[in-house]
């Protein structure tokens, strides 16, 4: 019953997302495959996850798991329902602690041939520029060097539902999928890798 309800809501959300954002995806690299990938994108709006997710064909969607912050998305029953039942997302701790290493959880997911959507800024920005990345992306890529890292630039979403607003404004958005970037090399520091990943994402901005 809950499952049926969730899929009904999912369809409603996808249709309204298409109506409001009319999102167009552009693939500069090989489009979606069944191989697991790590997609990382800039984060300016609550809709980012939904929009990115709606860019994939239906058969792939259940295999694409957005990563969300546990402290935020577990605050209420409603938020938890949205995060886990609707989007099938993985909730992880933003602050490292002893209970459950995020890398282990994500490793399990990649092993199941599922892809991950990650917003490495850690929080929503204002849209004018991309904030410095948190270190998660570095550790993840260092641990799983064989998994392709694909940057995705989400354009205009901060105009649809900016941080701090509850009102939607219909504006056409685009999602630009770049070519995969190289995993960190042996001697590359965390700082320089994160700067490189951010630069690759910024290059996609139209």
């Amino acid at each position: 019953m809950k499952k049926l309800f969730a899929s009904a809501i999912r369809i409603v959300l996808l249709i309204s997302c298409k109506l409001v954002t009319g999102v167009q995806s552009r693939w500069l690299s090989e489009p979606y495959t069944y191989r697991p990938k790590i997609y990382y994108a800039n984060h300016t709006s609550h809709l980012d996850g939904l929009v990115l997710w709606s860019c994939f064909p239906r058969c792939l969607r259940s295999n694409i798991r957005p990563i969300a912050a546990k402290d935020y998305w577990q605050q209420t029953k409603f938020k938890q329902f949205i995060a886990q039942d609707i989007f099938n997302s993985v909730l992880i701790n933003r602050k490292p602690n002893n209970i459950g290493n995020p890398l282990l959880i994500l490793g399990e997911i990649l092993k199941k041939q599922q892809s991950i959507i990650l917003f490495p800024e850690g929080t929503r920005g204002c849209g004018s520029n991309i904030a410095d990345f948190k270190s998660g992306l570095f550790y993840l890529s260092k641990h799983f060097p064989d998994i392709e890292l694909v940057p995705v630039y989400l354009n205009n979403l901060n105009r649809v539902l900016p941080k701090g607003s509850k009102l939607l404004v219909p504006i056409i958005c685009s999602a630009i999928f770049g070519s995969p970037i190289n995993s960190p090399t042996e001697d590359e520091t965390k700082k320089s890798f994160l700067a490189r990943a951010k630069l690759e994402l910024e290059k996609l901005a139209p």
Partner: protein, 314 residues
């Protein structure tokens, strides 16, 4: 009405006959004249013809459903057109609430007023109340950078995408002597003449176009295309006098006027696109570009067409 109105049957036979003819020509060209250098143009031509099929059928179905169907169709058209206009204009965070009102409150109200047959309010709602509201709502937010420019961009978007377009279904409001219940044919007349003028300007321009009419603005709008398109579309409009309340010569005069206005609309929208450095407003109609690219000429023609009929025939 499709079974009882013989004028309508004749008109539909004409429209779909023309579409079948265009599709046949398109397929033949694609088969025999296709080589590397013109492949793109021919592909685009056939996409456009297919989109015309789609648009004609959608418009016909909406009109046959009646007032409600027509209103719903034009609400959708206005929504998509407004979305394209707002996407293009660099709005700021301070405009957010005003934009929300425009999309979800003013746009439905404008069409509701038509549904309620409330002509006096419908004609002034956007140019008076909405315009003042937009400016005030943006001022309340306190961000004054480029205030006038930001207000004007939203007002102009509301004007062309909602106000002007809503004049097309508003044709159903008019009371014309001995033309009761036939107003939907005015919508068909307007759309057919203005859109055919667009197509014919494109065709004449492609065939004979040498001199650009406003070179800085668009190389595709030529003097030859302009003259050929306007003249032939006016003649077609004239020959359609039997679906209108006009006489033969009146139909010709009105057709000339609305095709000229359609040209002005296309010119202004091209200016906006050129300024923003884009080719099309969007990608919603395959082969044509965005919604705004298709209805740009109707935006200018519809209000004037409405008021002429209201003044002289209403």
């Amino acid at each position: 009405m499709i079974f009882t109105d013989s004028d309508l049957q004749l008109l539909l036979a004409g429209i779909f006959g023309l579409l079948i003819f265009a599709s046949l020509i398109g397929q033949l060209i694609a088969k025999f004249r296709c080589n590397e250098c013109n492949r793109k143009t021919i592909e685009n031509l056939n996409q456009r013809i297919n989109a015309w099929w789609m648009m004609s059928i959608v418009l016909l179905v909406a009109i046959l459903i009646g007032t409600i169907g027509t209103l719903v169709l034009f609400i959708c058209i206005s929504f998509f057109a407004l979305r394209e206009c707002i996407t293009l204009t660099p709005t700021k965070l301070g405009d957010h609430q005003a934009l929300f009102w425009c999309f979800f409150i003013f746009l439905p109200i404008q069409y509701l007023l038509i549904g309620l047959n409330w002509y006096n309010f419908f004609a002034i709602f956007i140019p008076v109340f909405v315009f003042l509201f937009i400016a005030t709502r943006i001022a309340i937010n306190g961000n004054t950078v480029d205030f006038l420019g930001r207000v004007a961009k939203i007002q102009w978007s509301m004007m062309i995408a909602v106000y002007c377009i809503s004049y097309i279904p508003a044709l159903l409001l008019l009371n014309i002597d001995s033309y009761d219940g036939q107003n939907f044919k005015l919508i068909m007349f307007l759309v057919i003449v203005v859109q055919l003028s667009d197509v014919l300007q494109y065709v004449f321009g492609k065939l004979f176009g040498r001199h650009a009419i406003v070179p800085k603005l668009s190389p595709n709008k030529t003097v030859e295309g302009f003259i050929g398109g306007i003249l032939s579309a006016s003649l077609i409009g004239m020959s359609l006098w039997w679906i209108t309340p006009f006489t033969f010569w009146q139909a010709g005069l009105v057709s000339t006027l609305i095709t000229l206005l359609g040209f002005c609309g296309g010119l202004c929208m091209s200016a906006i696109k050129r300024d923003r450095g884009i080719k099309d407003f969007g990608t919603i109609i395959e082969g044509h570009g965005g919604m705004m690219d298709r209805i740009d000429s109707l935006c200018f023609a519809a209000p004037v067409f409405f008021h002429i009929i209201n003044y002289f025939f209403g």
